[in-house]
């Protein structure tokens, strides 16, 4: 029963992400726009490129949607509203989200188009930049919670949220999460002005609808992950748990979508340089500082 409820909430969340994204780009609140856009895409032809690798081309959008959805199964919206509370929760999110890369490599290599292929391999370079900045902050969060159970992680933030306990970890994780969801300024793989749509350029019709649905679910899943790890999940004074979860998730989603509008796209060379020469040392420092903090003030 909770599974159906959570899937429904995820669908509503993805819908709101679409509405907020349209608002950030066009400045107008159009609540019915996503549903009409979805139906319109359903009615359009879906073209398969001629010498494409048919298996890759078909599997990529589905794998993107599955990867985002499976990552959301271990995220608690309220103390009892979680699909599967796995013992390796935090690690499982990371394991599911890696298949976003596999899906984009397939979407890049599949259609045999120059823009898509460059977009696909660029995302692999992007993964090499952000992957460490997701894993190490999560390790620091698990250190404080003494377990990988996401419900335990949220419970461990009862007295002080992780954003205050380990702010450096939050900043690194937030930047890496935006890079994972290839949101601007990290939209190297679907760069509209450098690759004319990149990996999603060759998709049309219903396959494009599934690809975009996968991306929306990915954004809402990453926002929920940020809330669970750093913003104390459902905890908060006065309001009921589900209200706090909803507010925090939507706030983080809006922040993720707005941050991209005010920055030019980052160069791939700069992204790799920054993440490896600045990001990883900071992440190691974060682990060390959190280690000391836990000893001094548990």
């Amino acid at each position: 029963m909770t599974t159906a409820l959570i899937l429904l909430l995820l669908a509503v969340g993805a819908y709101l992400v679409a509405v907020i994204e349209a608002w950030t780009t066009s400045g107008r609140w159009r609540l019915t726009a996503p549903i009409t856009a979805g139906i319109a895409l359903l009615g359009r032809e879906s073209i398969v490129p001629r010498k494409s690798d048919r298996v890759f081309f078909e599997v990529a959008p589905v794998l993107l949607l599955i990867s985002a959805l499976i990552a959301a199964t271990v995220l608690p919206l309220t103390p009892d509203l979680i699909i599967t509370d796995l013992a390796t929760g935090a690690l499982f999110i990371n394991a599911a989200l890696v298949y976003v890369l596999v899906a984009l490599l397939m979407a890049g290599w599949g259609p045999d188009g120059a823009y898509a292929m460059i977009g696909g391999w660029r995302f692999l370079g992007q993964l090499i930049a952000y992957a460490m900045l997701i894993v190490m902050p999560v390790t620091a969060v698990a250190m404080r919670a003494e377990s990988l159970l996401t419900t335990q992680i949220v419970a461990s933030q009862a007295d002080l949220w992780n954003i205050l306990y380990q702010p450096l970890g939050f900043v690194l994780f937030f930047v890496a999460a935006m890079a994972l969801a290839f949101l601007p300024p990290f939209d190297l793989t679907t760069a509209n002005s450098e690759l004319a749509g990149g990996v999603e350029a060759e998709y049309s019709g219903v396959r494009l609808a599934v690809f975009r649905l996968g991306r929306l679910v990915l954004v809402i899943t990453l926002a929920t992950t940020t809330v669970v790890f750093y913003l104390g999940g459902w905890q908060g004074p006065w309001l009921p748990p589900w209200a706090w979860s909803a507010i925090k998730i939507l706030a983080v989603t809006a922040l993720m979508l707005l941050a991209g509008r005010a920055l030019p796209r980052i160069r791939e060379a700069d992204l790799l340089n920054l993440c490896w020469k600045l990001g990883i040392p900071l992440a190691l420092l974060n682990i060390f500082v959190v280690g000391l903090l836990i000893l001094v003030w548990p």
Partner: protein, 172 residues
């Protein structure tokens, strides 16, 4: 209960083997790299089926990134990565068939005749496994933990020395 678990384990085992076969039957480098990736994922799913959750999830995660990096290196250095030329890349067929059979027989013999000790009645739950692994890492097999660090370091230094051309100091 055992029969459902056995069914899933054998299902994922067969999936792993089938993907492994695809690795060698396909002409496209990219397909063979991702087939190997999904073969490892099926292997990870097998571990999860055998109630070794941490090991399975770790296998699924790490193999995905590492096989993708193998994919880019395969596409960079192997001829005709798209498999358009339908070249037959297999070689030493007779030798490999013999080696395959010998290995299979060896594995079966070890699996059947070796003494695996008493069948464990119950398996600690997943969270307990991680904790035991952590304590093991910091306790008895501390030495293995640190030597693993050293081997990773040697791997990094070797990779750096071999793959990347050192910066020439005389440059501007």
């Amino acid at each position: 209960m055992i029969s459902v678990q056995l069914f899933f384990i054998s299902f994922f085992g067969l999936a792993a083997v089938w993907f492994a076969v695809v690795v060698f039957r396909t002409h496209s480098m990219m397909r063979s790299a991702l087939a190997l990736l999904f073969s490892q994922t099926a292997l990870g799913a097998m571990f999860i089926g055998m109630q070794a959750e941490f090991l399975g999830v770790l296998q699924i995660m790490m193999m995905a990134t590492e096989m993708s990096i193998m994919a880019i290196f395969m596409v960079m250095f192997m001829m005709d990565p798209g498999g358009l030329g339908k070249m037959d890349m297999t070689h030493q067929k007779r030798l490999s068939v013999i080696a395959g059979l010998v290995a299979f027989v060896a594995v079966v013999v070890v699996a059947v005749f070796a003494d695996w000790g008493p069948l464990a009645s119950s398996v600690p739950d997943a969270a307990q496994q991680i904790e035991d692994l952590g304590l093991e890492l910091l306790g008895r097999s501390m030495l293995i933990f640190e030597t693993a660090g050293l081997t990773i370091l040697t791997a990094m230094i070797a990779a750096t020395a071999v793959a990347v051309e050192p910066i020439k100091r005389n440059r501007d």
